[in-house]
Symmetry: C2
Subunit: 340 residues, 2 copies
DNA sequence: CGCTTTTGTGAAATCGTTTTCACAACTTTT
DNA sequence: AAAAGTTGTGAAAACGATTTCACAAAAGCG
């Protein structure tokens, strides 16, 4: 067996199988109009030579790359990592490869990354949320690249979306806490700048409170990055308010876990003095004490469903353009009726 | 501005800039031998047409794809997600794209994925651990594709590696617990099948005990998947032993967190009755109560350093082939001297 | 001022596939 | 048995860039 430089090419297979390159190409692409005998010869020749097709050449000629791009804020947050895991798993079942980029919540950087993805010839792009540069979307449209929003269910003029309604989720949290009899609220939100999801949760939460006659301008809202420390710091701030909240909604389980840690340190009883609701239902929600009441986000499903959309034929896609997933309230031990 | 089908190509830019395709190519690739005036015309023309190069064509002709592949067990485990995050961040600074595949700890699937990566023309591949099919490595070598092992520091005949010594880590845990005066041990290991890292930690742990005169065959070792539930179940099993261990080493913080949960449920005092050591230093290590003593794994650094290796020139690479990172013991509250 | 070297540019070949088109050899239909 | 349709195959063009080579013009040299 030759140890040639780059390895065998299609024409070498053709020579060995004693047929034309066209025929080899047909066999490799499953074209049925090839004589069984020839087909076998080709397959054997390809195997013998350890032939691996050149994807670039194939992509160039066929204009199909079987490449998908995803631009997410970070892989350091489990909800995105899990989403990508689901996405990748489904795509790779169909031999579609996933290029992934993290933007660190920076939509300008996101644009640069989208540009590179376009250059690479991705056929679809998965985005997170609905806040993007207009140029980013324009570029994708101009190049006829499918794109899918995740983590949001807002109806967009273009592009598909698979996610949930962040405002509704915020309202759900508010409703639940109101029903427990609370009237003093606080919120620890994620950084809302360029983050429609964090903003949506906050707005939904405040709106629902307002609807129940609570002046939302008097509800303290502090923002923190998705880190334990920030959760702790934010909770400290909330507890310094004149009227301490008895119920705090956090934009992420991480923030909530930090908040609980602060309460431990400050000897504030949870849920005795303050009820805490998280968001995401990460694994850590079962590790805090008390265990965390939270809203479950279907991260893996979003990835899978986004993949299904991408893999669907253009005609099937029409039915799948908009997909709102349910979020569930998971009641554990960090919430309780207000104490009189 | 035309809304043509696929968008402008290089030759269109050439026409608009009134020069040859060759010159456009030179400008786009930063070749310095181009007159300033022409260069400006080309840049302007490209911008005006919204020109985006066709990566496949470029890759085909130049045989450089600027594509890297990574095959990891899963993104659902923070240590891998974080590693990939670091890897991607560094690579994208240099406009290198990362294709990622998850193999679910299955080395046969890993081979299939490697094959697809080769077909896509990746120039390097990042692998996890040192357990791989020989065919996988042979294929990469035959195609002259660089590969980097992570999470291991074993000296391999070929390929580079960046990681740490899992056995040494296991010994460190054992030493620490021995020094606290413990003599009854147990271990909750990750699934060791096809997982050299999990096996290494276990072997190192048991070897160090043996060296201190403890018959390692009498140290109960149970294996669990990296899930809270498995940690709980495994701890239950250990605590049913005739001689209850007073010190348990876990192959992952997740398992350790599960173990602690079991102890809570079973009213076993940690660290009063049993000391627990985790592995990874995930965020959750600060969330358990008591907080978890653990070994810190430099996940992000591994990704970054792997990227540096990949981005280095062939001559620089020689110095970087082997990189062992330190792991640190982080002492928190889940461990204490043995009780008499 | 002629001779070599450098600089800037374009024409054409090339990368490794897929696709289109043509065509021979069989089948089926009428 | 002639006309029409299938089937299986190959030759050659095409995909969109980069690279090689050639060559004119400008610059440097003695």
């Amino acid at each position: 067996m030759d140890l040639e430089d780059g390895g065998a090419k299609l024409i070498d297979v053709a020579r060995l199988a004693n047929c034309s390159p066209a025929t080899v190409s047909r066999v490799l692409n499953g074209n049925p109009n090839v004589n069984k005998a020839v087909r076998d010869r080709v397959v054997r020749a390809a195997r013998e030579l350890g032939y691996v097709p050149n994807g670039s050449a194939r992509a160039l000629r066929s204009t199909r790359t079987r490449l998908v791009g995803a631009i997410i804020p970070t892989l350091d947050h489990a909800i995105y990592a899990t989403m990508v895991d689901g996405l990748q798993a489904r795509l790779s079942e169909k031999d579609v490869s996933l290029i992934i980029n993290t933007s660190g919540y920076d939509i300008d950087l996101e644009y640069e990354q989208a540009r590179l993805l376009v250059e690479r010839g991705v056929e679809s792009v998965v985005l997170v949320g609905s806040t993007h540069l207009p140029t980013t979307l324009a570029m994708l449209e101009q190049k006829r690249i499918e794109y899918v929003y995740t983590y949001t269910s807002k109806a967009m003029e273009s592009g598909a979306s698979v996610g949930f309604d962040n405002e509704k989720a915020g309202r759900t949290a508010a409703r639940y806490l109101l029903d427990l009899g609370h009237s003093q609220f606080g919120m620890i939100a994620g950084i809302t700048r360029d983050n429609d999801r964090a903003a949506g949760r906050r707005d939904g939460f405040l709106n629902e409170l307002e609807r129940s006659g609570i002046d939302h301008t008097r509800v303290p809202v502090v923002e923190g990055a998705y880190r334990l420390d920030d959760g702790r710091r934010c909770m400290l701030r909330l507890m310094e308010e004149d009227r301490r909240p008895t119920a705090v909604f956090c934009g992420s389980d991480i923030l909530a876990a930090g908040a609980i840690k602060h309460c431990h340190a400050a000897r504030i009883a949870v849920p005795g003095e303050v009820s805490i609701v998280g968001f995401d239902n990460l694994e850590i929600a079962e590790l805090t004490s008390p265990e965390l009441t939270t809203l479950e986000v279907p991260a893996r499903d979003m990835g899978r469903i986004a993949a299904d959309y991408i893999l669907a034929s253009p005609s099937q896609r029409l039915h799948l353009r908009q997909r709102e997933l349910a979020i569930r309230l998971i009641v554990r031990e960090s919430t309780a009726p207000v104490r009189r």
